[in-house]
């Protein structure tokens, strides 16, 4: 059962470990590649730096679809910055989705919309339909922004305040944690 106690990987592992996936993502994020699909031991990872690669359907089960712009927003463990040592990084990041892309958006004065539960994040009412909201949309207070699905129970995510959607912080179909920031809304005046 062990995949780690053989020196220098002389044994063929039974499957892919979390650390190996982290290493793959880290290597990808440093590369000049725009997108990549890797399939090994029954696990398929598809990543793209400018959104999901063309022609890739994001399957929620069995496939790990990794969000493009921020590798650290992946539904796997937060990836340590390339230079950081492995060990004492707390496994719980305050906002797992606040990677490189997050810092590109100015959220000063914005209001966070947090996940009401741990579960799958859905940006649209059902697959194939347009999303509830997009960046730049103006929303009313209590307007539905997304769904967090917990074992087939659909929990609506609603705007805490009226305003403009400044950022969507998680990828469609990703697993999000309780209280994870999902949206930033810039409140409208008044």
């Amino acid at each position: 059962m062990s995949t780690t106690d053989s020196p220098a990987g002389t044994d063929v592992p039974q499957g892919v470990t979390l650390r190996e996936v982290q290493e793959v993502l880290r290597t990808f994020s440093r590369s000049g590649w725009k997108a990549m699909t890797l399939e090994v031991q029954g696990l398929r990872i598809t990543v793209g730096k400018d959104g999901p690669p063309a022609g890739v359907a994001l399957a929620p089960a069995g496939t790990t679809a990794v969000g493009a712009t921020a590798p650290s927003a992946a539904p796997l463990a937060p990836v340590a910055p390339p230079s950081a040592p492995q060990a004492p990084v707390p496994a719980v990041a305050a906002g797992p989705a606040q990677g490189a892309a997050a810092s590109a958006v100015d959220t000063t004065g914005c209001v966070a919309v947090r996940s009401p539960a741990v579960g799958a994040f859905w940006t649209a009412p059902s697959p194939g339909q347009p999303p509830f909201v997009r960046v730049g949309d103006t929303v009313a207070a209590d307007q539905q922004l997304a769904i967090v699905e917990v074992m087939k129970l659909m929990n609506p995510v609603v705007a805490a305040t009226a305003g403009e959607v400044v950022q969507v912080c998680a990828e469609n179909a990703a697993m999000v944690e309780y209280e994870q920031v999902l949206f930033w809304i810039r409140p409208s005046d008044g």
């Binding site: 059962m1 062990s2 995949t3 780690t4 106690d5 039974q14 499957g15 470990t17 979390l18 650390r19 029954g42 089960a61 069995g62 790990t64 539904p75 796997l76 463990a77 004492p88 707390p90 496994a91 719980v92 539960a117 741990v118 579960g119 799958a120 917990v150 074992m151 129970l153 697993m175 944690e177 309780y178 209280e179 994870q180």
Partner: protein, 469 residues
């Protein structure tokens, strides 16, 4: 990739485990993470908002926040726990103790989602969790069972059953456990007046108001047998533990082997533990609990816990077996690596639970911040804990801070080592049971193996308070 359900249904005898969701908190979450790491298995720990920064969350490969502090919205919320397991690609779930560990619906839900439940089969969890069914199983397996009634519908039925048993009797909830949902009743009048409230309490605590009565033993000791099974039909025991020192039915000190009992009775209790596990077709770790009558040296089956116990380290210390690792191996379908003849009980081990409770105030739990925490070290000493300086004890969960265990070649040496270790334990910021534990371990009654389950209330605590006035 096959659908999860079909994998579960057609898996022959378990599947390899690569990533475990630890569905618990505190010291047992830390314990499970460490066992997994030793086996080369990755871990994901679920946390509530107040446990985000805890030791278990930092030790695990990943932590997932599943809900707010109240356990009903986090550690007991089955959909949230399952979502975390599936969303992080776990293939197995370790439930620890308490919370969802003995919830057959949770065990079944794990299996239905294609997750390996690191515990007994859901049906065994259900059968062990229903005390009336478990007792019936013990009876059919030829194990002594305390004289008791079936589940009773009315106070009148209870009065008739109690008259046949003789007072005092114990009124117990059919769905109860861990010492909760039981009360001693001395007379018919008391039984009649107590009955409706007891049913209401059982309903409130367990969602099941069914009650029964059983004979109450005055000088009782609590002795339990650690058993271990696999998916290939093998069951062994790892000796017994004596957990007689309790207050309000919560264990305080546990040791192995049990002191001061005739050898033939010890062997009979161990055989009964194995017999129950075999009747249950136990395929994981479990504990058969017995009540031992110190006056007659007779014993009777109490209940079976289909999970790892808080006090499992004392069995590990005397047998050298890592019980959590064995649970994981059994869940993965591996056959037991030990036969009964391989099991050796070496020396003696004693454990005390250090809780943030104030003995001077009736053991009231005491939330607060642990400002100083230096666990003891030394020969034969083991400390299982999630505590560290700055650790915040919240009011939401149990008050267990650490388990301090001492092993020695004999009982007195183990007790001496434990008393000395407790003296070296530095803890400040919250009141703890440390000093009370030292009093109990040094008490002549304890050293002579003459304590009963009522000893702390009747003798231990009053003596301690007198000494510390």
């Amino acid at each position: 990739m096959a659908s999860p359900a079909s994998v579960a249904e057609h898996a022959p005898v378990g599947t390899p485990i690569r990533r475990v969701l630890v569905a618990n908190r505190g010291e047992i979450a830390v314990r499970v993470v460490r066992a997994c790491r030793a086996l080369g298995i990755e871990t994901v720990v679920v946390v509530s908002t107040v446990d985000r920064g805890g030791l278990a969350a930092r030790l695990a490969d990943r932590a997932v926040c599943i809900g707010p502090a109240p356990a009903s919205e986090s550690y007991l919320a089955i959909p949230s726990v399952l979502s975390a397991a599936l969303g992080t690609g776990c293939d197995a779930v370790h439930p620890g103790y308490g919370f969802l560990s003995e919830n057959p619906d949770f065990a079944a839900a794990c299996v239905a989602e294609g997750l390996t439940f690191i515990g007994p089969r859901p049906e065994a969890v259900a059968q062990a969790g229903d005390k009336a069914r478990a007792r019936e199983l013990a009876r059919t397996a030829g194990i002594p069972v305390l004289s008791g009634s079936p589940v009773l519908a009315t106070a009148q039925e209870a009065v008739e059953a109690a008259a046949a048993l003789g007072y005092p009797v114990l009124v117990k909830a059919a769905a109860g456990g861990g010492g909760r949902g039981m009360s001693v009743v001395e007379s018919e009048d008391e039984l009649r007046s107590r009955w409706p409230a007891a049913a209401g309490e059982a309903q409130a605590a367990f969602g099941d108001g069914r009650l029964y009565v059983e004979r109450f033993i005055r000088n009782a000791r609590h002795i339990e047998v650690q058993v271990l099974g696999d998916k290939h039909g093998s069951v062994i025991h790892l000796g017994e533990r004596d957990c007689t020192l309790q207050r309000r039915h919560q264990k305080v000190v546990e040791e192995s082997p049990a002191p001061n009992i005739p050898e033939e009775v010890r062997q009979a209790i161990r055989r009964s533990g194995v017999a129950f596990a075999e009747a249950l077709r136990l395929d994981s770790a479990g504990t058969a609990e017995f009540i031992y009558d110190a006056d007659t040296c007779r014993y009777a089956f109490l209940e079976f816990n289909a999970r790892i116990q808080v006090e499992h380290p004392v069995s590990e210390m005397v047998t050298g077996v890592d019980l959590v690792a064995e649970q994981i191996r059994s869940a993965a379908g591996e056959p037991l690596r030990l036969t009964q003849d391989d099991v050796r009980v070496d020396g003696h081990a004693i454990e005390v639970r250090i809780t943030t409770e104030d003995p001077a105030r009736g053991f009231t739990p005491h939330p607060g911040t642990v400002t100083t925490w230096v666990p003891p070290q030394g020969e034969g000493i083991r400390v299982d804990s999630h505590c560290e300086p700055g650790h915040v004890v919240t009011p939401y969960y149990d008050s267990l801070l650490a388990k301090v265990v001492a092993h020695g070649p004999d009982r007195d040496t183990a007790a001496d080592r434990l008393v000395a270790a407790l003296g070296r334990l530095q803890v400040a910021g919250v009141p703890t049971t440390r000093d009370f534990a030292r009093t109990a371990l040094d008490h002549p009654d304890f050293r002579a193996g003459r304590v009963t389950t009522e000893w702390i209330a009747a003798r231990g605590l009053p003596d301690h308070l007198e000494e510390n006035r």
